[in-house]
């Protein structure tokens, strides 16, 4: 047996290969996908336990070792790392690989202004790139057209997770333009750019609050734009504004239809967090599907060792085996529900609905809220 084959059969090679097979994984029978995910999580847990002194201590304190992870029910005992640990001065303890192997640091900065920094080694970047592009292809199907980015560029805010993830889409488009510069957006320029792209299918991409702001301008000036039959509005970054007010998704969909000519089935929201390689992207029915290389678990906030029933709100935990840099077993500060499989839905895997940040969270937003805070503090 070659080393490569052995790595696939018993090592981390299985996880690396799965990252490049997002669409295939969605086509598996649900029980086969669940078994594959469990196997990947098991191998990942052993890898981090064996190579990460800090995590091994955490696991031993929880009286849980790799030999005890044998059934799906055991996953509840898997030690989780709270996302707040990524902000700590001692976050170096989270690393399973030496810092010299870290290729990339990605940030998210919420209302507290304290950045959460997620570090990724080459294998973790490889996995994230493959699976995120796999998810984009699976749910957005974009391979051409023009992207109006209602957000700053990665040049202006390098390493910000939200912008980095959206910018990856740009490579699939024929052309794109970032419309926020120096923390200001000029909506007249955005309208002119959309009108100028008359030989491309036009897409609008950005955090909900900026698209909402753009639509407010269209309404105020009674400017109706009819985008194209394949146009999509792609959002990432949360629906709560810096003021604390929520943007209504129902109203947002209606306004996109009325002012931009885009049907709700082509409005696709993305859930992501910098600390994990997983994303959840909406299908044409507005249901968010989780990257099939990972598993989520929705926990009772009053008793984090218990899951809540399907459809009940709880705190999101993630088992992400594709993270080779730090243990990808996270306890987030997000409240979500696990959603049932809709009749006729061809995809295996899990579905979730994002509800809000946990009331106990020190942050009520991430990159988008921080960006809105900065933009609103700039003189007009």
């Amino acid at each position: 047996m070659t080393d490569n084959l052995s790595d696939l059969q018993t090592g981390l090679g299985l996880i690396k290969m799965a990252n490049g097979a997002v669409s295939k994984l969605f086509q598996l029978p649900p029980e086969d996908l669940a078994a594959l995910q469990f196997e990947m999580i098991k191998r990942s847990f052993r890898y981090h336990f064996d190579n990460n002194e800090f995590y091994q201590d955490v696991a031993r304190c929880a009286d849980f070792t790799p030999d005890q992870l044998n059934t799906e029910a055991d996953l509840l005992r898997l030690p989780l790392i709270p996302v707040s640990a990524y902000k700590g001065a001692d976050s170096h303890r989270l690393l399973t690989v030496p810092l010299t192997e870290v290729e990339h640091e990605m940030r998210s900065t919420g209302t507290s202004g304290v950045p959460s920094v997620a570090r990724r080694c080459r294998d973790t970047v490889d996995g994230g790139v493959l699976s995120v592009f796999g998810m984009y292809r699976e749910f957005l199907g974009i391979s051409k057209g023009a992207g109006l980015y209602l957000c700053p560029s990665t040049e202006e805010i390098p390493e910000m997770g939200m912008i980095k993830a959206l910018n990856m889409l740009a490579g699939l488009l024929d052309t794109h333009r970032f419309m926020v510069r120096n923390e200001q957006m000029v909506p007249e320029d955005a309208v002119a750019q959309l009108r100028d792209w008359d030989s491309f299918t036009r897409h609008i991409i950005g955090p909900p609050f900026l698209i909402h702001r753009f639509i407010s301008y269209l309404k105020a000036t009674n400017t109706r734009i009819q985008l194209d039959p394949g146009s999509q509005i792609i959002t990432l970054g949360g629906w709560k504004r810096f003021t604390g007010a929520m943007i209504s998704r129902v109203e947002f969909n209606q306004e996109c239809r009325e002012w931009l000519g885009v049907e709700p089935r082509n409005i696709r929201d993305i859930y992501a967090l910098v600390e994990s390689n997983i994303v959840a992207i909406e299908d044409e029915h507005g249901i968010k599907h989780v990257t099939p290389t990972a598993r989520i678990s929705v926990r009772d906030p009053e008793n984090l060792g218990q899951e809540v029933p399907m459809g009940k709100p709880g705190q999101l935990a993630i088992y992400d085996p594709t993270n080779f840099t730090v243990p990808g077993f996270l306890l987030t500060e997000d409240i979500v529900t696990l959603e049932p499989r809709r009749e006729g839905d061809p995809r295996a895997g899990q579905r979730m609905k994002y509800l809000m940040r946990a009331p106990t969270s020190s942050e009520f937003g991430c990159c988008a809220v921080n960006l809105e805070k900065k933009m609103d503090s700039e003189p007009a």
Binding site: A89, H92, L99, E105, R107, G113, P115
Partner: protein, 120 residues
Amino acid sequence: MFSDLIVDNFTSPTHAGEIDAPVLVLENKDPVCGDQIRIGLAVENGQITSARFRAWGCATSMATANILCKWLEGRGVQDCAEASAEEISALLGQLSPEQRHCQHIAQNLVRQLAAQEAWP
């Protein structure tokens, strides 16, 4: 991406923590990436007797905070205040373009010493 100097100071910080009732507090935040360093100083007779940091941000930022504390400790406040931007940058060794914001944070922190009108 990370030099040995940055790796050592990030993974084995010797000066992390707080000083009780610091005489001076130096604080700087990069407005673009959000990295933040706060250094508390104990000063006696114009000499920095102790320096401790709290830092939030990338590995290089945290290492910068530790390097700066080591450099400050045992030095005269006046001497530190007179250090040039080039001297401060040199403390961090060779950095990649993505890490160079840490030079500015370090320079801004030391510049705050020069702005002090008096110290014990």
